[in-house]
Amino acid sequence: MTTHATAPTSATEVITTGRRGRGPTPATGRRRRRTLFPYALIAPAGVMELLIHIIPMLLGVWIAFLSLTQLSIANWVAAPFVGLQNFITSLDPAGPIGSQFYGALLRTIFYTVVVVGIAWSLGIFAAVLLNSKFRGNGVLRTLFLVPYALPGFVTTIAWAFIFNQRDGMLNRLLVDDLGLLTERPFWLLGGNSLIVVIVVTVWQFWPFAFLMLLAALQSIPDEVYEAASLDGASLWKQFTGITLPMIRHANVVLLLMLSLWVFNQFDVPYLLFGPASPEEATLISPLIYQQSFNNWNFGVGGALSVLLLVVLLIASAFYIRLVMPKGQTIDD
């Protein structure tokens, strides 16, 4: 604990030690108590972190080296150690799981870039528009929050209804009302299914980008824009020359958070397609789920989890190195 020799602190010390000065060595007793106090406060959370995060992570790495199937699952402690076999299976591009893994990884990266790109663009667009004063501003701010506030399972089910092939709203609009298509395309099967996952995820996440960016825009003083427009800078020049640089820090954090959420997406495909996504829309988290809880191949599921963790760590470190000036960390 850093000790600031300010008047109030020392006054407190005088008073409290005066009151409690019955023990033999009040000063050392007090210092001991003060150094242990923060540990006592973090202890319950620390124990819980150990139980729910640290131990499961270590166990997750361990099971990646075991042959763990539905036969050995009940007594998994005794499951045979198979070394790198699960990793070889997961990474073999010619094997059924390996090819799926590379496909899912590339697809998840593509999906993340597209979703984060669209969600960010809609978010900054809405934030710039709603950062100006007009009637109805407050109502729209609240309305734009609704997709983010609704439970994801509710909105995903509603989208499944909209994208229904035979009699959903979208095909009714495209085929019956506008006559743009003659056939009713399947949206939840085959190549179109990835589009659906993208649409639903964007719809759920763009309001979050909007929220964070609006908060960031509100911290830019009006005078900066006034000075720029006096100098004759166009709206676009003001946006790229003032707005974007001044919200850089908010963007760094926002893009990292959004990318992680989107990259780890499980709920949307699970609720749209059930436990097994169509191959064209299989993302990483659902693939691990599928290997583990549909195919009962827990060892391979564990190996895929470790690989996912490695990808996440490398990408995060790379991103932080890329956008952060030297010596600056994410929390300052």
Binding site: T12, A149, F161, M212, Y289
Partner: protein, 279 residues
Amino acid sequence: MIETRGFRILRAFGLVFLTLIVVVPLYVILTTSIKPLQDVRGLFQWFPSEITFQPYVDIWTTVPLAHYFTNSLIVTVFATTLSVILAILAAYALSRFSFPGARSFSLIVLSTQMFPGILFLLPLYLIFTQIQRTVGVQLNGSYLGLIITYMTFSLPFSIWMLSGFFAAMPRALEEAAMIDGLGRFGALVRVVLPVARPGIIAVAVYCFITSWSEVLFASVLTNADTRTLSIGLRAYASQTDVYWNQMMAASVVVSLPVLIGFLIVQRHLISGLSAGAVK
């Protein structure tokens, strides 16, 4: 931004576009929930042929919705309460003291928040299996198992947010209280907590919403008795028929509590969430 005429026109079109994006699915949910069954069996109808609130009556008998509701409520309330209590203590320590290990602790908390649930689901499932095998306590499919797993995301989030809220509070408050004879812990309970109440409520509501919407853990760690809403809502789709109108009515019922909660606390939540990002 300076408002030119061009900006006003862009704004009008932009806002209409964004409003449509948001409103269309909401319109589908709300109108479908007041349609009679014959309207949702065939081609999508833009307007209900008649307005009926029968789906809101039938949702409780078609599937055991009240039971799923209770399950969600039990798991969510316990996970939220536990997370917030543990997080208050830890966040106070992190925001008021600098001690060896504080930085590693917050780094662990921050980094586990980045990891997907699937990384924890598999090992926790195995640990629960093993506990059941050796001690005989059933965790897979029990409330307790689900509560523990929900803390994997609600605890780090709460610690992170509350550290921010506490750090923004002036230390002079507790110091004054301690001069008046309260100990550190007394000052935390009697002075810091009341002042930080809006922030604490915002964090609790957010944890509640995330647990309420959780799908992954619920899909593996619940059984027929402990099934939560996020999985239970799919039961309106049977082998023979999909009761879309009831599914949407149930969606409205399930959403309203969290939607209202979110709108009430959004101001505090946004200031907390963006505190780290806006500088």
